[in-house]
Assembly symmetry: C2
DNA sequence: GTCTCTTTGTACGATTATCGCACAAAACGA
DNA sequence: TCGTTTTGTGCGATAATCGTACAAAGAGAC
């Protein structure tokens, strides 16, 4: 019998998949919907949801299930364990104050970037980002920086996981173009995004290195779009980012 | 057979408890430690952890398990489903800018408050708070505001869940004193905290009401401690808080 | 109002995955 | 080196899970 199946607890795996079925678009699920989303039998999903309700992770109004704030507890172990946010926050605050722009640090989780710390200035993005928020890696400066640090095949695998959606008219969705850009980023040491996530938003990012030189996170700065050439903007801000990068080199994820 | 036991999936419940065993103090767990923390048999915990590793929620270095950022996905459904952060963030930003102080919104999860949105100014707290962060309700202004909205017995139950620790010399830990304070807060409509969480930190909070008049969250402002009487500080800032409270009345959790 | 379609709740037997013990191996510390 | 603790693995008994089946309850349609 295979190692992967011998010590697998099916009930646990199913339950977690059910929790993940609750998304931004579908915050309220009926049993039938959850069954459809997860692909599990209705009876199975029902047992999962009732169990989760009994444990306080879900609430049931007789018709729909919703996840309660208690599920956030499951993430605390990770967030609290991570020394990264605590360490980088002062640097983010400084950088944000110096430049007058929003700064963030994120890590890579498969094909998503996850914000772990942030110092916000005036709102330029329409969506509100906070630690725990996710954005796809392919169209963000931090995502591209982290993807560029991976072996090419691995980056390609991650890019293939989900369809590359054009969030704006400027979003690069051609995988070959993206691969070329990743190589350029690796050489150059930083990534630029010009309104590929959202119209009006530009962004610059550099990698943050761990104790063994590996890329553990990315640091970025968000800017309002302007007539100014992207390169001029990069020339102005990248030195500050590289300075923080240098001071934070050696941190552990 | 009881409803509570008939449709309970033991494996799921155990796995979730194992995930919660990873805390800020214990981010890395061996099988034996996790077994001790959860009270489950070592073999059971091992199966849970191997399952979680296989699913990507845990990482195993051959000796210790750690939770990966993937567990944060479990919370996204809740955070994204919650309209609260998106709605309140602009108000928080405004309030923070006007007053020059940090502002936050949190909700109650059992005996903890959970930050769901925050606009930070200069750092006055030593600990860095972010959405998803938790603090005990009994010693925070937002926690007391939300506790004061509950029926007395229910508030008492929540206060009894965990020991009331004196975080500073000023922390109120006597449950009768706390109950009296909750009544005062309910009458007055706001809560004041003077260095009970941390020396040097004062805080004011008001409740936020949902569409049916129920308390769904709390709004606060954090201030550096000073010689000024707490009442004078409250008189200065509470009107601004109440203004935001009024504008946000009717929001859903 | 009735009819149909979908969804939910419940029951139950077969199956299978889970449990916890027990033992071997390995790591650890003295 | 030895003793202790922890980890990995095998296995039989057990109990929990699975999915089907059916009744009941809504939800629409007409």
């Amino acid at each position: 019998m295979d190692v992967k199946t011998r010590d697998m607890m099916g009930g646990l795996a199913k339950g977690l998949k059910v929790i993940e079925a609750f998304s931004a678009e579908r915050p309220r699920l009926s049993i039938a919907e959850a069954s459809q989303l997860t692909g599990y039998d209705r009876a199975t999903v029902r047992r999962c949801l009732l169990t989760l309700s009994e444990l306080g992770y879900c609430a049931y109004d007789g018709k729909f299930f919703t996840v309660t704030p208690r599920v956030l507890r499951l993430g605390t172990g990770c967030l609290a364990a991570m020394p990264l946010p605590k360490i980088v926050q002062p640097w983010l605050d400084d950088l944000s104050e110096q430049t007058g722009q929003s700064t963030s640090v994120s890590i890579l989780d498969e094909s998503d970037i996850v914000y772990v710390a942030r110092a916000a200035q005036r709102r330029v993005m329409s969506i509100s980002l906070m630690p725990g928020s996710r954005l796809p890696a392919y169209c963000t400066s931090m995502g591209r920086v982290m993807l560029s640090a991976l072996p090419v095949e691995q980056a390609e695998d991650l890019l293939s996981l989900k369809p590359l959606v054009a969030r704006t008219a400027k979003t690069v969705t051609d995988i070959e173009t993206l691969k070329g850009e990743l190589l350029r980023i690796r050489d150059r040491g930083y990534a630029c995004i010009d309104q590929e996530v959202e119209i009006g938003l530009r962004s610059l990012a550099v990698p943050l290195f761990g104790p063994r030189g590996q890329v553990v996170a990315a640091l970025n700065i968000g800017l309002a779009a302007s007539e100014e050439p992207m390169q001029a903007v990069a020339d102005r801000y990248i030195p500050s980012l590289l300075k923080v990068q240098k001071e934070l080199t050696g941190i552990s994820g």
